[in-house]
Point group: C2
Chain length 139, copies 2
């Protein structure tokens, strides 16, 4: 729910319009607790054009309200960003759950490598694939 709250002002402050479709997308996302594809989201919003859903998610991604989650197989899902800031993902291949984490040590290791290579770092991504704790229980 806090997703919808703080966000409406975010949109306005950034000069974007708060329209009915955008509100609908935000609400749909707030009601979701698992990573979703655009297609899934679009199906749950039959009155909203597919293109608009794509456009809205792209926008929300730029505003760090949702984040892109690249899967191991090359697929893409999205999830509402809990922290709203830079982070990495633990992606469970069993149940599909995605957990965010931040780690200064990890970020520093990345920066260190860039520096060594005299590489001017703009951004980076790091995804961890495997099985989350609940999914490790014996079958």
């Amino acid at each position: 729910m806090s997703t919808t709250e703080g966000t409406t002002e975010r949109l306005e402050d950034t000069g974007y319009r708060l329209t009915a479709p955008r509100r609908a997308v935000l609400e749909a996302i707030a009601r979701t607790n698992r990573p979703f594809t655009i297609e899934e989201l679009s199906e749950r919003l039959p009155n909203i054009g597919r293109a608009t859903v794509f456009r809205t998610i792209k926008l929300l991604n730029e505003l760090d309200i949702v984040c892109r989650v690249p899967l191991e197989d090359g697929g893409i899902r999205y999830e509402r960003s809990r922290s709203g800031r830079h982070h990495h993902h633990l992606i469970c291949s069993e149940c599909g759950s995605v957990t965010e984490f931040s780690d200064p040590t990890l970020d520093e290791a990345i920066e260190q490598n860039a520096e060594t290579a005299r590489f001017e770092l703009d951004g980076h991504s790091a995804e961890l694939y495997g099985r989350c704790a609940p999914c490790q229980r014996p079958t």
Copy 2:
């Protein structure tokens, strides 16, 4: 050139057939020094079916002979893997060059995070985006 050499046996040893199209793809890759898209590769091999190029690259990727390079914009390029083993990428958004690097410290930081979250790690990816040293020269 070493790409073609060691690889032919790799294919045979793994039970795959060494066919003319696969040889052609390997040679084309050996002649390339920059990351490529399948489409580019396919254009350079007009006698080889597009599907076959896809299939071959998929195979070579599994054998760690080429590696997938996910770009910042979501696009995918491939590059022949120099090390043939686990590594990360420095991806220049200016010239598109891709540099491999390995760093035990980085890998360890990743493993540490997985452990903390009681996450059973299968694999991970880390991509660094920015500008390589030559591209930082004043315009």
